[in-house]
Structure formats: structure tokens, C-alpha cells
Symmetry: C2
Subunit: 244 residues, 2 copies
């Protein structure tokens, strides 16, 4: 038996957003590895071992998956959204550093619907013009880097999608981000809080930066800030295609 | 019969990247509207009218689709990739301006795998850290805006995904963009040219900015520039999760 490793994106939550490509590798897998709530989305079946693990052990999880693939297992690491956007793909490639044996394995990354695309679709088209995508967690980078990126993004007039805006362990970061954005973009800029998109708990709110408060976001929220031309039409928010 | 309009993303080309949600609306549709090569991907069937149209008529196409939905048709506008990323969703919302009758319609945006996610997955994980996404076509914005965005993005140390890098009618823009990026990021920065991702014509090349030439891209190419930490491991390219 020849082992392989697929790093697959499950999309934001709704099973109708899981691609047939990902469904197909899951059907062939002997082992599924991932963060507890993502592995919980996989239906158990005969011949499939589920390996849920806790958050913040990404490198250990990647190495365990690579070990199993090297031993001949057919392994899928599941990520929410897209595995290449603030998810497991980078951790796997990091685990390959200096390991020529693992680098020879059959490893594939299978894209998924990342949260900002589902959130934008539910809101209208706020990412319909140039945009950027920033992870607001300062677990893996200093806050000064985030701050600098926010200022450049504002001056470039990018729409912005923010992942991991706020957690119990970092309650103050998002408040600082909002203050920076208010200073750079002014109080009238539209901001959309999209919580648990595509799940039964989905909740969307669009307000102005002047009205936004840190409590509007939690770790299940993706936040989308418009650019200077983003506005409402009917019940939607969108960014025009043109800049005049 | 109650009409509706779905603006659906077909992904980058491979049918295994079309979500079940999009497949389901296509199965219910009476009319499919879109740019000729995207409509060509839809299998004809009894009761389904196909309405292919040329490029650069996005607003006319959006209005035609809204007219049909208002008349009770079940209409799907198909976009390549994700409809909210440089595709038809913004054009539809633009067409709704001032039209309260159309704003009352059942309109949904259905996300898809946008080209940069499929390209990043094929290359490894170059978008595994903060990044931005820029349409390099200057059909709808002045070149100065693009230039300013490139410089801010470089100074923010974003990885960058570029859509529409080059066309026969605008051969010089991408050369200017490469010159700006070379100046800002230096000759060693990695850049990946991903052509026709997920199709039988898929071709990926990663070179340094110093080696990159404008001819490496055409309109079927998505270009991904790494950030300052992006590097190769084995046959892949990835951006580490951490900034030290």
C-alpha cells in the first residue's frame, strides 16, 4: 500500500460547500487528522481512523500525519475553510524542513471555500475590488506587524478581510485594530461582522466603523472592512469594480 | 412561478472544484447567463436556456439576468472562480442601483474556489500568511492606483496574488508591475506563475523576481508573489505562519 497525505479544506461549515475533490479523498482515506471540531464533521465509517487533536498543536499534528503517510496510510488533514489560508498547509510544509524522506511523499493540497469568500457572498460583494486578508491573531507575529499592515492596507484603499479577530486570551487586540482603522479610514467606512457563516448560527451585521465595537466579533467571526467606495444597495454591501 | 437569481462560482476549471451548492442551483435553473467560455462548461439539458455573452459586457449581462428573474425565470449567472472576486457579483449589485423592483428579488451569491486558492494549493502554501489580491487590469482603474497598491503591499510585506496580469490589449502593464515589485522587494523574492490551474493545461513555474519576465504570464495566469519569508521546501513554495 502506498501512503499519501492530502491537506483538505472543508469550507466554512455547510457540507454543500465541500468540493467533490475533497469528498473523494475523504472516501479513500484510512486516517483523518485535524482540530477537534473539524474532525467532528467527518462521518465515521469502517476502516477510517479519526485523530482529533487540540488547537495550537499544528506542527505536532502535521508530523503525526506525515509519519502515518510514510508508513503507508492514506491520510487527510482537514482544515476549516481553505487549508492554505491561515490553516494547516503551511504547518505541513514547515514540518518538511530538513526531512528529505517526507519531502518524497505524495502530498497534495486541496483548496476549499475560505471563510472570507462565504462571508462576502452572504453580505453581497464587499471583496469585489482589490483587497487584503490579515490574520489579527498575534500568537505568531508581533502586534507592530499587524498595525503596520493595517495602515498600509488603509492607505492602499484595500477592502480588508480579518481572520481570528478576537479570542478570550487576546481581548484587547481587536479594539486596537478598530482604533487604527477608525483613524485611517474615518467613521463612515462600512464594516461587516459575519459570524458562523453557512452554519445554522450564521449572523451578519453591517455597521459603520464609528458604530463598531470589539464585542461584535469573536473567534467564529470573519470581519470585512470595505474600501472607500464600498456602499449599500438594497440589503447588500458591495465594492464597485471601478475606481474613477 | 417565482423567479430568482443566483450568481455562482464555477471554480477555476476542474468540475471536481464546483461545490454541491452550485451544482444544485444549476440543476434547478431555467436560464444560465455568462461569458462564453464559462457557459460552455454547463451541460445542455431540456428546459435550460443557455445565454452566452462576450467579455466586457458585464452590466448588460447583469441587467438581462435580472430582467429574466423578474419575469419569473430561475436564473444562474456563472462566473469562473468565485463570483465575488473580480467577477460578476459586483456588476449585479451595480445594476441594482436605483432599481427598487430588482432589489426586491431573491438574489443569492454562491461562493466558489477562486483562482488564487487553487494556484496556491498547487504550488504549496504561498498564501499561508497575510496577503493581498490585486487585479492588474487597468480597464477599470488608473494605473497609478495599481502602482500605489503594489508599493503599499510590498511595504506591508504581504504575499500578493495578481489576477488578469496581462492581455494582448495591455502588454506593458505587467512589465511595469514587475519593475515596481523588483524595486520594492529585490531580485530574490519568489514569484509563481500558475497558468490554467486545475485544467489539463495547468502549468506552474516558480522563479525569482530577478528571473521573471512579462511573457511568463497571460490572461489565463494567476501570479503569486511571496512575502519576504516565502521559500521553497522540496518541490513546494510556502509562506511560514510566523513572523519573528
Amino acid at each position: 500500500m502506498t501512503g499519501w497525505l492530502a491537506i483538505a479544506g472543508l469550507g466554512p461549515g455547510d457540507d454543500r460547500l465541500v468540493t467533490p475533490e475533497v469528498q473523494a479523498v475523504l472516501a479513500e482515506a484510512t486516517d483523518v487528522v485535524g482540530y477537534i471540531p473539524y474532525v467532528a464533521r467527518i462521518a465515521p465509517r469502517e476502516g477510517l481512523a479519526l485523530h482529533p487533536s487540540d488547537n495550537r498543536v499544528e506542527l505536532d499534528r502535521a508530523r503525526a500525519a506525515l509519519e502515518m503517510a510514510a508508513a503507508g496510510h492514506r491520510v487527510v488533514i482537514v482544515s476549516s475553510g481553505d487549508p492554505g489560508v491561515f490553516a494547516m498547509a503551511s504547518a505541513v510544509f514547515e514540518a518538511l524542513e530538513g526531512r528529505l524522506d517526507w519531502q518524497a511523499l505524495d502530498i497534495r493540497v486541496l483548496p476549499g471555500i475560505t471563510a472570507m469568500l462565504a462571508a462576502a457572498a452572504a453580505a453581497g460583494a464587499p471583496l469585489g475590488h482589490d483587497f487584503c486578508c490579515i490574520n489579527l491573531s498575534d500568537n505568531l507575529k508581533p502586534w507592530e506587524v499587524i498595525e503596520t499592515r493595517l495602515r498600509h492596507a488603509a492607505r492602499a484603499d484595500f477592502a480588508m478581510a480579518f481572520y481570528n479577530p478576537r479570542s478570550a486570551s487576546r481581548p484587547e487586540g481587536f479594539a486596537k485594530a478598530l482604533a487604527t482603522l477608525l483613524q485611517e479610514c474615518g467613521p463612515d467606512r462600512l464594516i461587516t461582522f459575519a459570524r458562523a457563516v453557512s452554519t445554522p448560527d450564521q449572523h451578519l451585521t453591517t455597521v459603520t466603523l464609528g458604530e463598531a465595537t470589539p464585542e461584535m466579533a469573536d473567534m467564529r467571526t470573519v470581519v470585512i472592512l470595505g474600501n472607500s467606495a464600498t456602499h449599500r444597495v438594497g440589503r447588500w454591501v458591495y465594492s464597485p469594480r471601478s475606481v474613477r
